[in-house]
Symmetry: C2
DNA sequence: GCAATTATGGACTGTACAGTCCATTATGGC
DNA sequence: GCCATAATGGACTGTACAGTCCATAATTGC
């Protein structure tokens, strides 16, 4: 069942909610309509589950990159990986969370709330890493780790949006490099 | 006719392309279907014209804020105004350009190209202001103004996306303040 | 004032879609 | 092997929509 969710995530991520038809989703998951509705209840429910699945992965990747290394190195590792994925991966999908925010937030209050929570968890993952780094003495005493975490969260969304329409490594590297500059 | 375009822009900006029905657009513009198609040819054409109109405004606001004052003050003015608009304005519209990128870029190559061009013009407006500031001696000699302009362009998209689902002034101020920090 | 052109209203068409339903097929208990 | 239960296929329904079309109304040129 998780394989079906993963396939559906790919469809929604690439095409967005509205343009993903049930036929697309049934083809991708291998389920027919009856089984689809038995398993997932509705297109929107599946979309929100896909979003949650994506959120888990995003948070985990941040935590993994920041774990067990200096925070600057961790952030660079994370951003370099992100840029690799944007430049080399299947093109123009952007960030599922950001896509959901743009496409649904105004018309679907529940979806907006999920996006808000996803961004909060991403912010918390950055905040944790930064806080630990400060405790290790890697950052100045007075640095505002919450502000930095918020900045990184927004910055990544910006980077991914720009990368979606212009997956140019040099431009994305400029953005990432300047972002890292803010830690100092 | 520009009034009709402005009204249509508001509809597309708020709801996105797909969920804006022709009935919505005719109601907003005051045109009936016949006049609508005579004037704008198709829903998509109108959408792209609305996007262009929005782009002009965005670029002009950046240029105006950076004109005739120190670049740090100009950027702060711009970002403060943006945050005011996000927090106080009609909620959760986000940036039309960013919305278009998220909603259409994957499925409409032409729209993606327009977004790419809009972002390039925004980047150029920042780049101009930064370049002039460097000539005035406000920035260090070796500063990479293109990288900074790219960073600001992405940062604004990130700020607006976060603000779309969580229009919290304190959080947005944190992001803006940290962004400005990167100039030093 | 009238004819020719242009704008307007709104009915209409064809299509695409999410979700439902039931007849058929497969599965498992015994 | 047989019955009860569960999964499956795919036809079907109702709705919403973009775009077209034409009959009528307004406007313009003279």
């Amino acid at each position: 069942m998780d394989a079906a969710l993963e396939s559906a995530t790919r469809v929604f991520w690439a095409k967005g909610f509205e343009p993903s038809s049930l036929d697309d989703l049934c083809a991708a998951t291998g389920l027919n309509r009856s089984s689809f509705y038995a398993a997932f209840n509705s297109k929107r429910d599946l979309y929100l589950r896909a979003l949650q699945r994506y959120e888990e992965g995003s948070v985990a990747r941040i935590a993994a990159a920041l774990e067990g290394r200096p925070v600057r190195a961790g952030l660079k590792l994370f951003l370099d990986g992100l840029i690799d994925a944007v430049v080399a991966g299947p093109g123009r999908r952007g960030c599922f969370i950001g896509n959901c925010a743009a496409e649904m937030a105004r018309l679907d209050r529940g979806a907006a709330e999920r996006v808000r929570r996803s961004l909060a968890r991403i912010e918390a993952a950055f905040g944790d890493g930064l806080e630990k780094a400060r405790a290790r003495g890697e950052l100045a005493r007075g640095v505002d780790t919450q502000a930095l975490a918020r900045f990184l969260t927004a910055g990544i969304q910006g980077l991914r949006l720009v990368g979606k329409v212009n997956p140019d490594r040099a431009a994305l590297n400029d953005i990432a490099r300047t972002m890292l500059h803010c830690l100092d």
